[in-house]
């Protein structure tokens, strides 16, 4: 090793470099969030949130798009949660380390990494055309469910596996069956972690635009049934920005989206914190 710079000096330099990269990362985020909120919040008021769009969204509000986002996200989470949590229970409580389990893990990893536009292609070919659901809340929500599934699965699996084994052993020793133990002991203990996973999956579904681009349509009205076309917020923002319809409304929509994500982050962090305190406290 050629030592060109004395260790004490290199230590000081590198500490500076580390601090700089940490601070730069915060700065980037603050600039982006700050700028979006600064430009968008003045547009956001009750009329904007609860109003109907006027002239394809050039002016007016975004209420139908908020409702669209809520519907597709709810549908996605309702479908993905039982599948994801069930799979997590199976993987952590029943399965050994066989070939099937490896295949399941690889499947879920692949699902987590496939580009969202490919989900969109699949949704178009399968839900919209093959199953005949058309451009609808149903097609869009199911496509998003596939994307939320791996997020919910992996977060639930981590949280179930982190449960102290003595809980389950205590229950089994009292004569409870395996399922009674899982249902009464393991799941309640893992619930905060599972809900965190569900909220994260929700965050992924709310933020997604590419996967719904060709599955949900681009309606301007509040969808009244599963088969109605809709337009979730990110898709609305994309249309406003690329077609140059209204920069003000685009900033407003972006601000609403950022606020939603901030709320989701705060809620998950509070959940995780509480969970940690509870585990430490007893």
């Amino acid at each position: 090793m050629h030592r060109i710079i004395p260790p004490k000096i290199s230590q000081k330099i590198m500490t500076g470099v580390f601090w700089a990269s940490g601070l730069l990362t915060i700065a980037i985020l603050l600039v982006i969030i700050g700028y979006v909120l600064l430009k968008g919040l003045p547009v956001v008021n009750l009329e904007f949130i609860l109003g109907d769009p006027i002239d394809s969204g050039r002016s007016g509000g975004i209420f139908p798009f908020i409702m669209s986002s809520i519907y597709v996200t709810l549908l996605a989470v309702l479908v993905a949660t039982p599948l994801g949590v069930g799979a997590a229970i199976y993987l952590s409580e029943y399965a050994g380390e066989g070939k099937l389990v490896k295949l399941i893990r690889f499947g879920s990893e692949t699902l987590a990494s496939i580009p969202s536009i490919v989900f969109g292609l699949f949704g178009l070919a399968f839900f919209v055309i093959y199953l005949g659901f058309g451009w609808s809340v149903l097609s869009g929500g199911l496509t998003l469910a596939l994307m939320a599934l791996p997020t919910i699965l992996s977060a639930s699996e981590v949280s179930i596996e982190s449960i102290n084994k003595s809980y389950a052993e205590g229950s089994l020793a009292l004569g409870a069956t395996k399922w009674q133990t899982i249902y009464r002991v393991v799941i309640p203990a893992a619930l905060p972690g599972i809900s965190t996973g569900v909220i994260l999956g929700m965050g992924r579904a709310i933020a997604e635009a590419a996967a719904v681009l060709y599955t949900v349509g681009a309606a301007l009205m509040i969808p009244t049934s599963l088969m109605d076309a809709a337009r979730p917020l990110p898709l609305h923002l994309y249309i406003l920005a690329t077609e140059g319809l209204s920069m003000d409304n685009a900033w407003g929509t972006a601000a609403v989206l950022v606020l939603m994500i901030l709320i989701i982050t705060v809620v998950t962090n509070t959940l995780v914190d509480r969970y940690r305190k509870k585990m430490m406290g007893r």
């Binding site: 994260l200 635009a209 994309y238 690329t242 901030l262 982050t265």
Partner: protein, 291 residues
């Protein structure tokens, strides 16, 4: 024994939910391939992958410029995001005071959760005019796209690498410090080498996200089908190609877009196989975002 029956059915039911990811992946591959293969058959495998011309009106479907576009944007953004992200991860794991960490971690989580369209819009309104002023041209370029992507993949690289640095046994660090090494020497010679598999995993995950990003790139990359001669030229990514043209594609053109999807799936599976080969058991942290 009714109890035994109940247990049996529950176990099989759970198995069914567990197998659902495999079924879904199989369906995705089946349908994307079914729609995509006709285009590859009619164009020819090599002239599809390595063809230089994409002109659906003339029936030419060569995606090579877009493969270069995707790879170019991805590599450029990794060049910026990996050093910054890994340094930030070391900062979080080793140096930051705990109060600071409490601010930074949720910050990075939020960064991971912000919709890609918002990043794209931000890039379109602020970064594109800035690039136009600084470097000339239209401002829509491979470089602009990779700057936006850098911000988008930073959270993945930071959170997964931070996990890797944290999982290094404390004894390693203590031994090195006890021998009189400075903290930086310890990081450079002990902690970093031990964490390399995790760091590489974080890079692969970031790469996967960069390859898959669609709408944000459309908004800032210019979308011209060409092999760029400089990083300030507009390019089109594979993902963008699908999103831009699917709205009006019919016939073989429609199939060719699904075939573009096949290429994307293939790229992602190669990345996953490499990641698995590294045997790094990745931990999904709460809020770590995408995998």
């Amino acid at each position: 024994m009714p109890k035994w029956d109940e247990e049996f059915f529950i176990e099989k039911g759970l198995l069914l939910t567990a197998v659902s990811s495999i079924i879904i992946i199989a369906l995705i591959i089946l349908f994307v391939f079914k729609e995509g293969i006709p285009a590859i058959e009619s164009t020819g495998f090599f002239s599809f992958l390595f063809g230089m011309d994409w002109a659906p009106t003339k029936g030419e479907y060569g995606i090579f410029p877009m493969i270069i576009g995707t790879l170019g944007i991805t590599v450029l953004s990794l060049l910026m995001a990996v050093p910054l992200g890994v340094f930030c991860a070391i900062f979080l794991a080793e140096i930051a005071p705990s109060a600071m960490r409490k601010v930074l971690n949720p910050t990075i989580q939020t960064l991971a959760g912000i919709p890609s369209v918002v990043y794209g819009f931000f890039g379109l309104v602020l970064l594109v005019p800035f690039m136009r002023l600084q470097f000339g041209g239209t401002g829509f370029s491979m470089f602009t796209a990779s700057v936006i992507l850098t911000v988008m993949i930073l959270p993945i690289i930071v959170s997964v690498s931070e996990d890797a640095f944290r999982s290094i046994p404390l004894e390693y660090k203590e031994a090195s410090l006890a021998l009189g090494a400075t903290h930086w020497q310890t990081i450079k010679n002990v902690i970093f080498p031990a964490a390399i598999p995790g760091v590489i995993t974080s890079v692969i995950l970031g790469m996967g996200r960069a390859i898959g990003e669609t709408l944000a790139i459309i908004m800032v990359a210019g979308n011209v089908v060409q092999i760029p001669s400089s990083i300030f030229d507009p390019v089109r990514a594979l993902t963008s190609n699908i999103a831009i043209e699917m709205g009006y594609a019919t016939g073989i053109h429609y199939n060719a877009l699904f075939a573009t999807g096949i290429v994307l799936i293939f790229m992602i599976i190669v990345l996953l196989v490499i990641a698995n080969y590294l045997h790094y058991k990745k931990k999904v942290t709460m809020g770590g975002g995408y995998l």
